[in-house]
């Protein structure tokens, strides 16, 4: 059985992701060891919290370069996805630069609650991550910052006036703004797709 590694750092909601993998009958290692990460068949990079302190930590332990150079299918979740971008408005943080996209804060709109919290539907692009998923694709989101739609967008979501990136993809890297580990059977299917995807289909 191939090995799944969850990146260990200071901003992970690691147990939720581990539980979701367990429900799929899979186990995962939690590690910040570059060797373990490089040898994994899949790497998952969850995240909740604040961008600048997370980036500071990743740089301190030199995980930034490791994450940037991985070759296997890699999935960032929520803050994880945002940290994979080039830059975040959250405390003006330079991020990993895996994606060219940038992270901005939701603009104030009358009646628009921030954070964007709860279940919203995806506008699905053609990506193996979404194999077998049909509309309406309800997923659970919690975030105050977002990535505007860009050429790296593989799924969208609309909140207020903004249609933003619900998921990003480039090469072997994928990122999702929602929480698949908390999005019921549909989220489970997305995680399963990520685990079962053939690597050459990602590029």
């Amino acid at each position: 059985m191939s090995s799944i590694v969850i990146v260990k750092y200071n901003a992970g909601n690691i147990r939720s992701v581990l539980c979701a993998l367990n429900r799929l009958g899979r186990d995962a290692t939690v590690s910040d060891d570059p060797k373990v990460l490089r040898n994994a068949s899949r790497v998952i990079f969850p995240g909740v919290g604040e961008a600048s302190s997370a980036m500071r930590y990743l740089r301190q332990v030199h995980l930034d370069e490791v994450l940037l150079s991985l070759q296997q299918p890699f999935l960032g979740i929520c803050l994880g996805m945002q940290l994979m971008c080039s830059r975040s408005e959250e405390n003006d943080t330079d991020c990993l630069g895996i994606f060219e996209s940038q992270v901005v804060r939701f603009a104030e709109e009358p009646g628009l609650k921030i954070p964007h919290m709860g279940w919203n539907t995806l506008g699905l692009g053609d990506d193996p991550l979404f194999a077998g998923i049909t509309d309406p694709a309800w997923c659970y989101f919690v975030h105050s910052y977002y990535v505007p739609a860009s050429k790296e967008t593989i799924a969208t979501c609309t909140y207020g006036q903004n249609t933003f990136s619900a998921a990003l993809g480039a090469g072997n890297y994928r990122g999702v703004q929602f929480h698949p580990e908390k999005s019921g059977p549909l989220g489970e299917r997305i995680l399963k797709n990520f685990l079962e995807i053939s690597e050459d289909r990602l590029w």
């Binding site: 539980c19 309406p136 659970y140 919690v142």
Partner: protein, 260 residues
């Protein structure tokens, strides 16, 4: 479109659900995990577990229950009740809870909200506010509400709306607003109260207290401006079934998560 959320609330004592849960299709109606899983299957959007364990010695059972919930439940869940320290919060989040609801502790020392938001992120800090009308009026002729703690038994003298604004400013991610005047009446949610809070703060408001009929949910989402509605006994006693409620709400134009 962001869906309005339906949140069943489970009271837990010594690791088991209380409030005389009455489900025929559960092996053990007192098992919080089994009941939670049923609600999740039925389409609940989130779950809330409130620990009402009386003794400190038994509080560890709640943490182990939270671990069991996290193993099984694939939707977000909030835990609260009797949280006294940042360490308590850390332990519950480590056990797999998505959000922590704090109430008395925040009133006693509001700075705890700043600390929790900084340490764990605003997304997991739910500020629970129990209010009663104090039958006074402000300068605009609007009714005033007072914050109560200790399960609604102890008045604090705090004006509820300004407390909600302070909680938001300090970094709370959500407000769980319970009207003690409405709780248990089944006569409907506190619509005017919820509307005032919803208009005033920018974080989501979960309305709680008073649900007795499906129309009450429509009303709290439209007139009340609530982002989510929480209820307990009407779900536990089958008075309203979640799938039926969600279909009803969708028919009435409320954005709701329905999987076909």
């Amino acid at each position: 479109m962001l869906a309005k959320r339906i949140i069943p609330c489970l009271d837990v004592r010594d690791g088991r659900t209380v409030k005389g849960v009455n489900f025929v299709n559960l092996r053990d109606a007192g098992d919080a995990v089994e009941l939670a899983a049923l609600y999740a299957r039925q389409g609940a959007d989130e779950l809330t577990f409130l620990d009402i364990t009386a003794t400190v010695e038994n509080r560890g059972t709640f943490t182990s229950l939270v671990r069991r919930i996290a193993d099984v439940i694939d939707i977000p869940f909030t835990v609260g009740g009797g949280i006294r320290s940042v360490a308590d919060v850390g332990a519950l989040l480590d056990a797999g809870a998505d959000k922590i609801s704090i109430n008395s502790m925040a009133v006693k020392d509001p700075r705890i909200i700043d600390t929790l938001a900084k340490e764990f992120g605003s997304q997991c800090v739910v500020c629970a506010i129990d209010v009663r009308s104090n039958h006074t009026f402000d300068a605009d002729g609007m009714l005033g509400w007072e914050v109560y703690v200790a399960g609604g038994r102890t008045p604090t003298g705090l004006e509820a709306l300004s407390w909600a604004v302070e909680a938001e400013d300090r970094g709370a991610g959500e407000i769980l607003l319970t009207s003690m005047d409405h709780d248990g009446t089944k006569a409907g949610f506190a619509v005017e109260l919820t509307r005032r809070f919803s208009d005033r703060v920018r974080i989501p408001i979960i309305a709680s207290g008073g649900a007795g009929a499906m129309e009450h949910f429509t009303e709290i989402f439209t007139s009340g401006g609530a982002d989510a509605a929480l209820a307990a006994s009407i779900f536990h006693f089958h008075e309203i079934d979640i799938p039926e409620l969600k279909i009803f709400l969708e028919k009435h134009g409320i954005p709701i998560r329905l999987n076909r």
